[in-house]
């Protein structure tokens, strides 16, 4: 049994699986049930001046029968008074002293407002703070959430105000609604953040109803942009985590969030530099019990790999994430079709013929239709293997290049000596 405990900037939890700040962490009732189910930590639904929500609030994008491929919401932060939440945090912490409870906070960008709320939540014994600079709707129009989180100076200044009074570790939660997330991550670090978390939701409109022409969701015939999350955003979140992890100025632990639905997703985020993960949509879709499979799966994976502690996974893939200009231009792979497994649907041929390099030939052998890759024209793009519906029918195999490795950057510096 591997050691699943993590320590994220001094915040300890029995496993790396935390619930993200969202409806699953609205109340003491829910967080306590989540801890009973096995979650290692919970970031409480964002605390601030109690807001008013609209109805309806959520929409989901289903894709080809996969329900909730993406999830969209126009919900704001907590609508309950601070004292109600604090009382429940106190009770929950008393019942679960070894689980991590992090208070997510959002107030106006004023020093005294941050000081006030930090002191109040720390008084009930939270293990850490998460500053919500990410919520893209509603609160942003009031100068909070992503409106703060998109401006590096505001991130730095507000983090600094929090650090002036905070006694527990401060995590800064970043918005993905920005071109380069490392700019705000660096600002958080300059402000004194002990850790960063990402991503919050991505600006989105789930759809338009083709009968009524209303937005999805709509509130009495009107819509407003919401925030997108769930499995569809995972690659975006993973890249943002990786970009921060490999940035030498962002030298604080990362809590990874965005589309994490199972132990494999969690392990990927940890390999790419996250010390732990947070989950929202998957828990909303399937309930708290999904954490059981997450714990078992991660544990078995670590045992199979002979890794004693989950902390040993953190960041192992970061050095493999590089810049395009440092990739070897002469590394070669080609597609290989196994005609014993192929069902002759011809999707690979169509994809290659219509949208790639026209290198999959159709022929017949003893009256049987067959497909063959013309290797000399194959550029190793992977498209045929991606569209192939049968496991094992197409493999991408390495072909040793006849010329030595050379990156684009090396090539450009070589050629620059000859430009006359």
């Amino acid at each position: 049994m591997a050691d699943l405990r993590i320590d994220l900037a001094g915040i300890k939890s029995p496993n790396p699986f935390w619930l993200a700040s969202a409806p699953p962490t609205n109340s003491g009732y829910q967080v306590q049930r989540a801890f009973e189910a096995g979650w290692g930590g919970a970031v409480w639904k964002t605390l601030g001046e109690p807001i008013l929500n609209v109805s309806s609030r959520f929409a989901a994008v289903s894709f080809n029968g996969q329900r909730v491929a993406g999830f969209n919401n126009i919900e704001l932060i907590t609508d309950r008074p601070l004292e109600v939440n604090l009382q429940e945090i106190l009770e929950t912490k008393k019942r679960f002293p070894n689980h991590a409870i992090i208070a997510s906070l959002m107030v106006e960008p004023k020093q005294e407002k941050w000081h006030e709320i930090v002191k109040k939540v720390e008084a009930v014994g939270v293990d850490g703070l998460e500053l919500n600079f990410g919520c893209p709707h509603g609160m942003a129009e009031r100068g909070m959430g992503s409106a703060s989180g998109q401006v590096p100076e505001l991130v730095e200044r507000q983090t600094h105000w929090v650090k002036e009074v905070a006694r527990t570790p401060v995590i800064v939660k970043l918005t993905p609604n920005i071109t380069d997330i490392t700019m705000t991550a660096e600002a958080a670090v300059r402000g004194g953040a002990d850790a960063i978390s990402m991503i919050n939701t991505i600006n989105s409109l789930a759809g338009v109803d083709l009968d009524s022409w209303n937005t999805v969701p709509h509130v009495g015939g009107k819509g407003a942009h919401g925030g997108y999350c769930g499995p569809a955003v995972k690659p975006i979140a993973l890249n943002m985590v990786a970009e921060c992890a490999r940035n030498r100025f962002v030298n604080v632990p990362i809590s990874g969030i965005g589309g994490i639905s199972n132990w494999q997703d969690a392990a990927e985020f940890m390999l790419m530099g996250a010390t732990g993960v947070q989950v929202c949509t998957a828990a909303m879709h399937h309930g708290f019990s999904i954490v059981e499979d997450m714990i078992d799966g991660l544990n078995n994976y670590l045992d199979d790999k002979g890794i004693a502690s989950v902390m040993d996974l953190v960041g192992q893939s970061v050095q493999r994430y590089s810049n395009w200009g440092d990739l070897d231009l002469n590394y070669n792979i080609v597609a290989e079709i196994n005609n014993d497994v192929c069902i002759n649907c011809n999707k690979c041929h169509i994809a290659c013929e219509d949208t790639s390099h026209q290198c999959i030939d159709m022929y017949t052998e003893s009256g049987r239709p067959m497909l063959k890759v013309r290797e000399v024209d194959c550029v190793g793009c992977n498209l045929c293997a991606i569209v192939c519906p049968v496991d094992g029918a197409i493999s991408m195999v390495e072909r040793r290049s006849t010329i030595p490795p050379m990156t684009w950057n090396e090539r450009q510096s070589l050629i620059s000596n000859f430009s006359r």
Binding site: N330, H357, V376, D377, I415, F418, R420
Partner: protein, 70 residues
């Protein structure tokens, strides 16, 4: 015309090899919208070659590296 460039790239690589085998040295390399333009020089003799295909441009860079190392 398809994206299949194998034969053309082979031909271009052969031309690169041919100049190098004859004792020419790469003198200048310039790239623009039309591809790569290489001038080979042997004593006072200068010849130019336009390289179109991606594979041959990669190959040429490898040859240029060889020339630069010796």
């Amino acid at each position: 015309m398809t994206m299949s460039e194998y034969l053309l790239s082979l031909d271009e690589m052969k031309q690169v090899d041919a100049y190098l085998d004859k004792g020419f040295q790469v003198h200048s390399v310039n790239e623009n919208l039309s591809g790569m333009f290489v001038e080979f020089k042997r004593l006072e003799e200068v010849v130019s070659l336009q390289i179109l295909t991606a594979e041959a441009r990669k190959y040429f860079a490898a040859k240029l590296l060889e020339q630069s190392m010796f």
